[in-house]
């Protein structure tokens, strides 16, 4: 077996403190590898350390501790202009006094590429972002989406080993944002570009990424491919931050039983029903826990829970919300806790709000986490 090739980027025990270290770390003991050719997204709420991590790699921040390796070389102390890394900023940061073509040519001009070769590479880069005919315009004459494509072309034109994108679509409206997501993904796949992408939008992260690192409080809570992150979150934070989840508090009643996919514990929910769930990091019997179930995994039946089976919960349908491609059902459990269920439009008759119904799910899709702070 071949050993995996050396990763393109490696953070080794990197910490970053602002001001006095006593005020805490913005990034704490980060170990992270970026493989060549992948699109890695750093996802997290604001202040979670994801942007700081990107800025550490770009060179706009210096780590307090640790090493940052790019192609095996420690670049942690190198000034940004010697790192040769492309960066796309949320505010585009195009140079307003230069034309679009001059903007894209700037990295080549700095590197002393001869004028003729420069023009050809600028043309190619602009063609890549479908702006061939916009070279003569000023950045201010372009729309937000076009400006961000110019910024992308400027960050790629000098063929950097990795392109960093700091919430590049944050300033765009929803429809344009989705269009640009597919465009970035297509560029990444067509050119085999390595990209590190920062966003707080979990939907964007799921759409774009090969892998996602979920940040919270200056550390990575989970690093996995989108599908795995969504279906097998490793802790309550990730379960709550990525995608929508019903979060039902309860107490662990039994130690795990069964093997593999059938491994399960019994949990007494605060609403008074005992359910089965897959233990993720839930504690010993008697400890508080949180059961997370995706709305699309919640089955609703207009029959009484007692007729449905031993793990069904009795609930009252509170509201039915039409959302185009699906309907959301708001259901109230005994003690006021709520469960949301999603159903495709046209999937059978819906009961009237106010009726007593039963809800159930496959225990394999109910994850039991240790209750967090």
């Amino acid at each position: 077996m071949n050993r995996m090739a050396e990763p393109l980027v490696r953070f080794e025990g990197v910490r970053k403190a602002y001001g006095a270290a006593a005020s805490g770390y913005a990034v704490q003991r980060l170990d992270l590898e970026v493989e060549k050719g992948e699109l890695l997204t750093l996802l997290g709420p604001s202040g979670s350390g994801k942007t700081t991590t990107l800025m550490l790699l770009a060179g706009f921040e210096m780590p307090s501790e640790g090493r940052i390796l790019l192609g095996g070389r420690d670049i942690a102390r190198l000034p940004p202009h010697r790192r040769g890394i492309g960066v796309v900023f949320q505010s585009y940061a195009l140079f307003p006094h230069m034309s679009v073509a001059e903007n894209v040519a700037f990295p080549l001009e700095v590197r002393g590429v001869p004028r003729a070769a420069r023009a050809e590479r600028v043309r190619k880069a602009l063609a890549m972002v479908r702006l061939e005919s916009f070279g003569e315009r000023r950045p201010t004459q372009l729309s937000g989406g076009q400006q961000q494509r110019v910024a992308l072309a400027r960050a790629m034109v000098f063929e950097p080993p990795i392109v960093l994108l700091d919430e590049p679509l944050g300033a765009l409206d929803k429809a344009l944002r989705e269009e640009m997501q597919y465009e970035i993904r297509a560029l990444h796949q067509r050119l085999g570009l390595t990209m590190m992408y920062v966003t707080h939008d979990q939907q964007e992260a799921l759409t774009l990424s090969d892998r996602i690192a979920v940040f919270e409080g200056g550390r990575i809570r989970q690093l996995a491919a989108p599908r795995r992150l969504y279906e097998q979150p490793e802790n309550a934070f990730v379960a709550g931050f990525v995608g929508e989840n019903n979060r039902l508090p309860g107490v662990v009643r039994s130690a795990p039983e069964g093997e593999g996919r059938d491994r399960a514990i019994r949990v007494m929910l605060d609403s008074g029903t005992e359910v089965l769930a897959r233990p993720v990091d839930a504690g010993a019997p008697g400890s508080r826990c949180l059961v997370a179930v995706r709305p699309e995994r919640v089955a609703v039946a207009a029959i009484l829970a007692s007729e449905m089976g031993e793990d069904a919960l009795s609930a009252r349908l509170v509201e039915v919300i039409f959302q185009g491609d699906h309907v959301r059902l708001r259901l109230s459990l005994g003690d006021g806790a709520e469960v949301v269920a999603k159903r495709p439009v046209g999937a059978g008759m819906l009961p009237e709000p106010g009726t007593l119904v039963s809800v159930a799910w496959d225990p394999a899709h109910a994850h039991a986490f240790a209750a967090e702070g």
Binding site: P80, H81, V87, A93, F95, F106, V110
Partner: protein, 300 residues
């Protein structure tokens, strides 16, 4: 994230460009006036008339001395009094052929240009440093840089004389230019700081990410965008040097006599009306400067 660049508050009025418009709250619809169909036009309110009258009076007060004295330069007579005995350009001809006035005009322009250039370079660098980085003692540095604006000129002149004497810089162009550059630099600092408030510091990061060194990023990305502010400051510095008399009296030797300095001694020696022609020339140059600044400030 690092804190944004320090941007000391400075008056934007003397800026190369207008400061960004303060966020104006959406104008509330004015309370509907009571329906009075008889009178459609609002009458001129007394407060408005008073404001206009005051404004006109202030302008008159500022311009009257200049306006009163300048026609004398066209006098056909030889004395400083009205009515003019007739119109002539004889004093201008005298000015233009005089080896008393012409070298002084030449000196003024040379010293002014050199001082403006020096103040422009140093003032721009100082403003950029003050804007880009936050450091202890920043307020003190700012105050020292702006001091020549508020310290009485005569004190600056005496201080320069005492400091330049031992260095052999008195009675030299170098000394005079250095002195005038110090007087003009604050204008550059102020106009460039105002121009920098419009400049997005992220562009410097973008330039670095493109591979540009800090010097190159400043030269290629920042400077072209703040150039109107730099130019406006340099024009102010030139104008300052042009009508500066105190430092010129103390520092300049016979070879460095500037126009205002020459007018000062001309007034003492003999009341020739050529001095009025010289004054007119100064006013004309100042007017051109004012025009230049107005053009530089215009949004493009």
């Amino acid at each position: 994230m690092s804190a944004g660049p320090a941007t000391p508050r400075i008056p934007a009025r003397i800026a190369g460009r207008e400061a960004p418009a303060a966020p104006v709250p959406p104008a509330a619809p004015p309370p509907a006036p009571p329906p009075t169909p008889a009178r459609m036009r609002a009458p001129l309110k007394p407060g408005r008339i008073l404001l206009w009258a005051f404004g006109v009076l202030a302008i008159l007060f500022l311009l009257a001395p200049v306006l009163a004295v300048l026609p004398l330069s066209f006098s056909a007579g030889s004395f400083l009094h009205y009515p003019l005995p007739g119109l002539s350009l004889r004093w201008y001809a005298d000015f233009w052929s005089s080896d008393f006035w012409l070298p002084a005009l030449w000196n003024s322009l040379r010293v002014g240009a050199a001082a403006a250039l020096l103040a422009g370079v140093l003032g721009t660098l100082a403003a950029f440093g003050l804007w880009r980085w936050r450091f202890p003692g920043q307020a003190v540095v700012m105050a020292v840089l702006l001091a020549p604006m508020v310290v009485p000129a005569i004190i600056v002149a005496v201080a320069l004389l005492l400091a330049f004497g031992p260095l052999g810089l008195t009675s030299s162009f170098t000394g005079l230019i250095l002195g005038h550059a110090a007087l003009g630099a604050p204008f550059v600092v102020v106009t460039v700081l105002a121009a920098l408030q419009q400049f997005d510091a992220t562009q410097l990061r973008a330039a670095a990410a493109c591979g540009a060194s800090p010097v190159r990023a400043f030269w290629r990305v920042c400077l072209p965008q703040i150039a109107p502010g730099v130019a406006a400051g340099a024009v102010f510095a030139f104008a300052t040097s042009l009508d500066e008399v105190a430092v010129a009296l103390f520092i300049a030797g016979p070879a460095q006599r500037t126009l205002p300095r020459q007018m000062f001694s001309g007034l003492n020696d003999s009341i020739s009306l050529t001095i009025m022609a010289a004054a007119m020339v100064l006013v004309l140059i100042s007017g051109l400067m004012l025009l230049a600044v107005t053009l530089l400030r215009r949004p493009r």
